[in-house]
Amino acid sequence: MRVTVKLYATLSDYLPSASKNNRVELVAAEGACVQEVLQQFAMPAKLTHLVLVNGVFIPPEARPTTPLQEGDVLAVWPPIAGG
């Protein structure tokens, strides 16, 4: 299945060098969970702070059991804030 992974802020360093607009499209195994896809990017766990699937927050404990579906958008940020 095809999913879109978006890595923002300092996590953009973990994207393939040819990536543009903080995103990469990739093919994942059917039923792959959030954590499995994230592991492909070898990011330190403490940096994968804010994880959204189609805009919905996935808490750390649910990432190993939350399956992705065709066309899902997985977006990740390190600890950040604004105002």
């Binding site: 300092t10 804010l50 804030a81």
Partner: protein, 615 residues
Amino acid sequence: MGWNRKVLRVNLSAGTCVPEPLNMAWANDYLGSRGLASKYLVEETDPKVDPLSPDNKMIMATGPLTGTMASTGGRYTVVTKGALTNAIACSNSGGYFGAEMKFAGWDMIIFEGKSPKPVYLYLENDQAELRDAGHLWGKTCWETEETIKASHQDPLIRVSSIGSAGENAVLFACIVNDLHRAAGRSGVGAVMGSKNLKAVAIRGTQGVSGIKDFPAFMAATTAAKKVLADNAVTGQGLPKYGTQVLMNVINEMGALPTRNHRDVQFEEAGKISAEAMHEKRPTDGKAHLVTNAACFGCTIACGRISKIDETHFSVKNSPKYWGANGGLEYEAAWALGAANGVGDLEALQYANLLCNEHGMDPISFGATVGAAMELYDLGILTKEQIGLDAQFGSAEALCKLVEMTAHGEGFGKELGQGSARMCAKYGRPELSMSVKSQEFPAYDSRGIQGIGLAYATSNRGACHLRGYTVASEVLGIPVKTDPLATDGKPELVKAFQDATGVFDSAGICVFTSFAWTLADVQPQLQAACEGDWSMDKLNEVGERIWNMERQYNLAAGMTARDDDLPPRLKTEPAKTGPAKGLVNGIDKMKPEYYKVRGWDAAGVPEKATLERLGL
């Protein structure tokens, strides 16, 4: 003791500057800055006063931690009745001006009356005098600061001033200090202009003395700074990317108000984001962002300093804008960008620079442009009326409208009245995305439910900094809550509102609360100030301030009907994103909030609540 115990009372009608002792009984109940200045305003003015009349007062105030070793201890506030809102206003600014006021030996300056001619206040330690500002009237905030420093032969003078917006009663005029920091919201600059007060210039050389327990204070501030440094948000995220990092976050969540809240996601959000500010431009090979910056005493340094593209149409013939300058921060980038459908980063920075230069709140300005663009889209406003094509997404229109508003030209005069008055004039009041006539900040409350309640009940009109539930609903600080749920939000909003009152009144930046809780602030206050500043006391002070502000607004004529959101957010569901199909649940949350507050069904504090808080 934290406080200097000294207030300067400036009667602009009589031309007098008279020192008086700070009311320490009130300081004990309201701490400082926002809380204490609001207490003075409540005691000394009629809540029904016309904000732009001489009978309104304007107070510049510091807190007990302003100017000290406490991290971010550079804040000051401007308290008055807001020109935009007709509600109590407390607008908070960083930079260096607040600390300088403390170094000059003052806690607070109370301005009353109206000067018969333009003046500025010059304050050098104990010496205070009103000086003629005829030569400054008409100058920008940037020119005013430069001129005052040059005339006094002192580059270390700190200046807060108004630009043409404040002089011309633009209702969202702000007061700018240190070139690009501002007491930005609610129209405090219009109040200052109505008093013929162009600027306040301060030079203080006395430092801060009288910290109650200095060893304990140094230990407490050092420990608290370590908390900020060790925290991933305040130690790394904010310095690196600033507040602008939220642009993509909020867009992904479907809570980025777009085209006057018609949409909740902006297709060009990435082009105006923090990440875009780091990318090299094709035109000159340079990144928009130059560096980050800090206000006085700040160990976070979230501020953005950027350099605009010299080839951009907005500035190619205006070299004065080519240098490194303040911005873009998230709120300005959103209001000037997504709110109008404009995805041109350089145009947003140009508009932001003009807001700083001429003294306008970019949130209210940008959102008012968004409302005008919707009126134009609907055919209610025409090209002839506005003087240009004002379609959503037009960077050219944005840049022209900011010039027209700053200079009070043509349709700019109508924009300068804010969206509520403008939309009412053209028969579509519901298209103003505001509460108490103040425009929304950068979060759509269909996608972040709690912030809708915070907007609706904010004592100074729609504002994210009166109860930043986004910290919890989006960022998980201090705990993650579901942004799409309404359950538990009344309690969450109250907790944020009361705690923020303490942060504001202490004289520190609310951004510390991404890492600090009140438990980190408490030891600093206890060591700096006389008296009991326990956690129980601080919680009570925060709640007391909120209820005092509420009482003022009720006495000014506001009712529960003013604690509401525009119909669009209650009846037009979000079209995309996680909140697709949802409206804001304000009608469910508001009665619960009133109960949590100890207010009756009409939003009036119960007698028992007032007695408990000593009001």
